[in-house]
């Protein structure tokens, strides 16, 4: 493989592009393939199969060939509402787990660059913040303020937009109250089952870092559920 291809791969990843890196295992020639485009002559015969592997989000050798396809898709976007202590640990864990993190918190004291260096922070109320964030059914929401004024609008947005994962910090009681508020706001009880509340898998820990670990574990397990 040429070093230029490796540099190009890094560049495309940093630009959040989705593509495949295809390699002819016989002669070591590689190129970057964007879905919908035609690959060069060497690979053109396989363009359909390359697209297929890409859309399945898989890596592998095309059957009866020596063409290897490595797929690059964007990581799951995790919107964290609440620039609190737990969020700092979550960001730390997420760094090595292929999640993209965005922090939303209207409270300037919490959502400061000093507290969250190298993280995308939106210092606005959730409803305004969501205007700036591209979301889809691969987006995840984690609410951590346990202040209904801030958490609830974000939860409503995530429910309406069918986020892939929704988790809300708070005890069982807090969650019951939260659910009744959301029912009052017009949501059906079955829709609310989508919210993981109390958030995280059961580890038993209580410290901010332990709670962050239980949340990130739940996110990873949801990612592989389908």
């Amino acid at each position: 493989m040429k070093i230029e291809i490796i540099r190009e791969t890094l560049k495309n990843k940093s630009l959040n592009k989705e593509f495949a890196l295809i390699t002819n295992l016989i002669n070591g020639e590689s190129e970057i393939f964007f879905p919908g485009n035609n690959p060069s002559e060497m690979f053109s015969k396989y363009s359909e199969e390359i697209e297929k592997i890409f859309h399945l989000n898989k890596n592998g050798i095309i059957e009866n060939s020596q063409i290897f396809v490595q797929t690059y898709k964007n990581p799951i976007k995790v919107i964290i509402v609440g620039a609190v202590d737990i969020s700092m640990y979550l960001i730390d864990f997420a760094k090595n787990l292929n999640f993209e993190i965005i922090i939303v918190d209207p409270r300037g004291y919490f959502a400061s660059k000093e507290r969250f260096p190298d993280t995308k922070i939106i210092n606005k109320w959730p409803n305004e913040a969501f205007d700036e964030i591209e979301t889809n059914t691969k987006t995840a929401l984690v609410t951590l303020t346990h202040d209904p004024k801030i958490d609830d609008p974000a939860l409503q947005y995530a429910l309406k937009n069918k986020f892939f994962y929704i988790g809300a910090l708070g005890s069982k009681k807090t969650h019951e109250k939260r659910c009744s508020r959301l029912v009052e706001a017009g949501f059906k009880k079955v829709e609310l089952e989508k919210i993981n509340g109390p958030i995280g898998i059961k580890l038993g820990g209580k410290s901010p870092s332990e709670i962050a670990l239980s949340i990130i574990s739940q996110l990873v397990s949801e990612k592989y559920k389908k």
């Binding site: 040429k2 490796i6 990581p75």
Partner: protein, 109 residues
């Protein structure tokens, strides 16, 4: 399936190349049975035996490092190596977990 750690591996490969080192890339291209790491897992190896990343979680790395170093000494561009539990090297380099893997090694030019 893009892997975050691959970013680190590619960035490091770029640094090694800029430092005029010969570098090879090893990639898991096929697996059968319960292989330790998935297809697409990568590792880089420098001519002096330094390596980063993983192709099997520790089972066959030393052999892959050896193969990469010898590849860089020859004029060959690439090579596919199959690791099977049933081969005669099983005691030394076989996969403890019973899976088979194919690893593709190539020099980064």
């Amino acid at each position: 399936m893009s892997n975050f750690s691959e970013k680190k591996i590619f960035e490091e490969a770029d640094i090694w190349i800029k430092n005029n080192k010969k570098v090879s890339l090893a990639t898991v291209v096929q697996t059968w049975g319960s292989s330790p790491l998935g297809i697409g897992s990568r590792m880089i190896v420098s001519e002096d035996g330094n390596f980063l990343g993983s192709v099997s979680g520790g089972c066959v790395e030393s052999k892959v490092v050896e193969e990469c170093i010898s590849l860089m000494k020859t004029k060959k561009i690439c090579k596919k190596i199959d690791f099977k539990v049933s081969n005669e090297n099983a005691w030394e380099i076989g996969l403890a977990c019973g899976g088979d893997i194919s690893i593709y090694i190539e020099e980064i030019k």
